[in-house]
Symmetry: C2
């Protein structure tokens, strides 16, 4: 086999300040690949069970994949992972941008951050080297200020920064890690882990070209995408990820007022189309991507927004908008800017606030609890004030900074019913009463409610790109969005495996690579004679590694649950009277376990672990 495909992993211990470089072999990369696969491997092996997520035993891992850093649309991503302080389970999140590519060009596939520093520091990684530098002067400052300061301090305006904001410093449990100011490893509260280690940022700069087995093949595919993406991505470039807000509202699947409704009367006002026609000043992209789905907005006046922080994605528009009953796009843009500056996940922030708004409207929270702030749906002041208070951990904000689940448990008085989360992670902006299998996917996801490694049932109700892709795995027929029968579960099993592989490869799911092209890309990058079988199994392997991690933490099948709200019918709107049938949900969840080779308690069988080359887990 020769040397094969290899790389470097940077290991930094912030307790003893030891820095080492490791060289995993070809078989390691071919087993764990990158992203969630690589992170789950290291977390399982190296973080002891029941470790405090915010203590020195937890590890924070940044990881790319085999395609990261190649001049290729969709390859500008990296994952960040740790045991999550939000869920207590395996945690990771992916971010786009330029930082991941820069890390690879600096010679590293991954950075493992261990221990805790006693004083604020940042890490400077450049062309195969790394140093720990003091960051006391950066502590407490907004993300844009910090990025600017680091660039000046190191004298390199082209370096890239992945960092936390003040919310991460204050251990807000849904604090994010921010790439390049505008790209977020939003979920799982990884910013709090970084904050607990007093690591404010990792600055990187690399000048190496990423070596691949077949560079001409990579160039050829990149060229193909450059020439064809426009007809494939529809309105993504024009209106961004929020381009579907109005149609989603019409279909009844737009989370509204803390998931009490699925349709929002102000949908048009907060849509991607409205954004394009009002506050949009530019379109941004990730490394090597021609699509430019990212927004850059500018607002002056009351809700002054600095375009350096980009603009809101769909998740943000819904989480801070419809789900808080807010139809003022400028206020949403302001909320987005503040979350970016403070380093907070907009989904969890929005759902924590919408939870509080519903609790306030239902009298569970009073003006006394809120420090005199009326917390009503639709109130932009309430939204923006609460974002500040969460970021500063002030008053009710300090409670909400613990996440909706913990907040509800402390409030009591029936508040738990209003906390829309899975395993403690707030539910993203996709409605399971519209997309039933997505709800099942929420339940078993290792990181709590997750919309990325999941299927969106509506995409399979008709012929189109998703059905074409499903067909490539042997699933031949379209099926309704509210169907939860065996064929849907099979689709879920196959596609969630594949979505996990896309994470391992760190390929963006918005770039319309077909499964066939992804295979070609992987072969060209690594030189492996790999197949869709091997890649899908690598995704399945990663799921099972995260599952093993969570089982060790004490999670059981009882944690694979979604909020009761989703089994309760909508009172109005396009889906009036519709809910997920609890029995069908339970049958589908169990059938998914069975297909995965998990027992009734959700534990992978020995045969499944052996089948995935994970037999070593049995000896642990």
């Amino acid at each position: 086999m020769g040397k094969g495909y290899t790389g470097q992993v940077l290991r930094v211990n912030l307790s003893d300040r030891k820095i080492t470089i490791e060289h995993p072999d070809d078989a390691f990369y071919r087993t764990y690949f990158g992203g969630r696969g690589l992170i789950a491997y290291y977390l399982y092996r190296e973080v002891p069970g029941k470790a405090d997520p915010l203590g020195p035993e937890n590890k924070l891992i940044f990881a790319g994949g085999p395609l990261t850093g190649l001049p290729l649309a969709g390859s500008g991503r990296n994952s960040v992972g740790a045991k999550s302080p939000l869920t207590g389970a395996y945690g990771d999140a992916e971010a786009g941008g330029f930082w991941g590519a820069e890390l690879k060009r600096a010679g590293f596939d991954a950075v493992i951050v261990e221990g805790q520093s006693s004083t604020p520091v940042y890490l400077w990684v450049h062309d195969g080297e790394a140093e720990i530098r003091p960051a006391g002067h950066l502590w407490g400052r907004l993300t844009a200020e910090v990025e600017k300061a680091i660039k000046e301090e190191l004298g390199d305006s082209h370096l890239r920064v992945s960092q936390i904001g003040p919310a991460g410093e204050k251990l807000v449990r849904f604090a994010t890690v921010v790439n390049d100011l505008t790209h977020f490893a939003g979920r799982s509260g990884l910013g709090a882990v970084m904050g607990s280690k007093k690591l404010r940022a990792i600055a990187v700069r690399g000048h190496q070209n990423v070596a691949v087995a077949e560079p001409e093949k990579i160039r050829e595919l990149a060229r193909w995408m450059g020439e064809n993406y426009q007809q494939l991505v529809g309105g993504l470039q024009d209106t961004g990820t929020a381009g579907g807000v109005v149609s989603l509202s019409l279909s009844g699947g737009l989370p509204t007022r803390n998931f009490q409704q699925g349709s929002f009367e102000g949908a048009e006002k907060i849509s991607g189309q409205a954004m394009r026609d009002t506050i949009l000043v530019d379109r941004d992209n990730c490394y090597a991507c021609p699509i430019h789905c990212k927004r850059v907005v500018k607002v002056e006046g009351t809700y002054e927004v600095d375009p350096v922080y980009g603009g809101p994605e769909y998740e943000t528009v819904a989480a801070l908008g419809s789900n808080c009953g807010i139809d003022d796009l400028k206020a949403i843009a302001k909320g987005n800017e503040r979350c970016a500056a403070l380093g907070m996940d907009t989904i969890s922030t929005g759902v924590a606030i919408s939870f509080a708004m519903e609790a306030f409207e239902k009298g569970i929270l009073t003006l006394e609890d809120t420090g005199g702030l009326p917390l009503r749906f639709g109130d932009t002041t309430a939204l923006l004030t609460m974002i500040e208070r969460i970021g500063a951990r002030e008053g009710l904000g300090d409670l909400l900074a613990e996440g909706a689940k913990r907040a509800a448990e402390r409030i009591g008085r029936g508040a738990e019913e209003l906390a829309i989360h899975v395993k403690g992670q707030e539910v993203p902006m996709h409605e399971p009463r519209l997309k039933h299998a997505l709800g099942v996917g929420y339940a078993f996801s290792p990181t709590g409610a997750d919309h990325v490694h999941n299927i969106h049932d509506t995409a399979y109700t008709r012929e189109g790109a998703s059905m074409r892709e499903a067909r490539s795995l042997g699933i031949l027929q379209t099926m309704p969005a509210d169907y939860l029968g065996p064929e849907k579960v099979r689709l879920l099993y196959y596609e969630v495996n594949w979505r996990h592989f896309m994470n391992l490869a760190e390929l963006c799911i918005f770039v319309p690579w077909t499964r066939e092209q992804v295979l070609e890309l992987m072969k060209a990058a690594t030189g492996w004679n790999t197949t869709t079988w091997e890649l899908a199994k690598a995704g399945e392997r990663a799921i099972n590694l995260t599952r093993a991690f969570n089982l060790r933490e004490g999670f059981t099948e009882l944690d694979d649950r979604i909020p009761r709200r989703f089994f309760t019918a909508f009172k109005d709107g396009p889906l009036q009277g519709k809910a997920i049938p609890a029995e069908a949900f339970e049958a589908a969840r169990q059938l998914y376990y069975d297909m995965m080779g998990w027992d009734e308690a959700g534990r992978p069988t020995a045969a499944k672990l052996h089948e995935l080359g994970l037999g070593w887990l049995l000896g642990e």
Copy 2:
């Protein structure tokens, strides 16, 4: 999707002489593909449980695959299937040659033969049409005579004939179906099913080019193989499939004297090299194949052999040679010729005779039983006489024509221990004490002991083509041939699925197409955006269909057993003292069940059936 990939199935009822043509749709072909997939589907749906294999309820199905008939090395194969009279289980066998390609060029993917004729008939299929013709004048004649007679009668020297011989007429339970005189759907006793229907032959002639989605891609790959096969196939063309006899004997894996030994002192005399240097007069091929691995031999004198019947394969050399203790290549060639002329499977014939030889040497059979014939290992007269008697069902031959299992049961007196079979099918010429996982594969094979849809452990002990292919599925490390641990079972699970797909595709495993090329071929032929995942799952689907068939017939996990002999150590030779450890075997078999999603009784779980799109089996 448009019309997609479609074809025609010819259905012929010999009871009422009704002939119909069916047009399955794209989804049918994409689910069952061809070969074992298609045959198992029809047999499960249409043959009632517990049907008499030799009665009118059984159906005999000839099927090609999506590549059959294309101008492509390895595509000249077809399967024949029915409920097996030898095992009472699902039965099929594959044959090379030219007949399958001709059938496809005549417009048909498959022929389903139903019912029974009261008088001998043959079927004449030509360019989309079919007719049943009388065959009384052909009955009882040798295969070469019949082929010649049909060609003369129909006035077409280019037509192709698939037929049975006199042994099939006499319902010898291991009678074969013969393509073009020299290619055999040898196993499962399908010739007896054909005989029971009084169908002597199917003659076909077609002038249609097989339409494919991307003809240029097919041509390109065919050209590539034409230019590269010689360096890839080693000595296959030079010495044929028997080229490995000597090295196999040296490694201890050459079945000798009814599997009592694994090494044969006369190995060199019966090797492919010896054949090349003595009796070989030509090398033959299958449709569109440049490799010419088939032998044509000519012998004059005592063992006069007519070259019209080709020459012996490895399986025949070992079954009639070493396994009967015979080192006379000319006698073996004569035995091969007679099996071809009479239409009998050389493996089962050889093992039935070696069984009788051992029984005779051990005094279980006497001269009284044998009609005065001394049945000793190494006795060429004994071998050739018994072949004639089996074919004619005379004396002890009539008993052996029932197969070694039934014969042993009737003889009693401990003879059962000497009948080397699985589910009633005699074990082919591969030694499980050398290749341990192959033994496990023998056990669960739906058709009884089978070496084609199986792995050969020795191929994975070193780097080479097999390891390269295993790696493409994510199995990265070589492993010993006598290792039966989880990684070997995983290899078995993955590769047996894939070997099944190769059957569905009707691609010859001797043509060194890589898995990647097979995928390209499938895409080019069908226009499907298929993946290795979909194809391997199609193979797994076919296994489960056959499993469902056998379960309905009353087979249980207790039938997934191999002869006790393989758990008994060799007394001499290179593997002296070696046997399969019974506990490791049992653990591996159970682990294979678990990986397959079969319960402890070997029944596919509902989840596994749903996962494969076979949920309809649950409603049956």
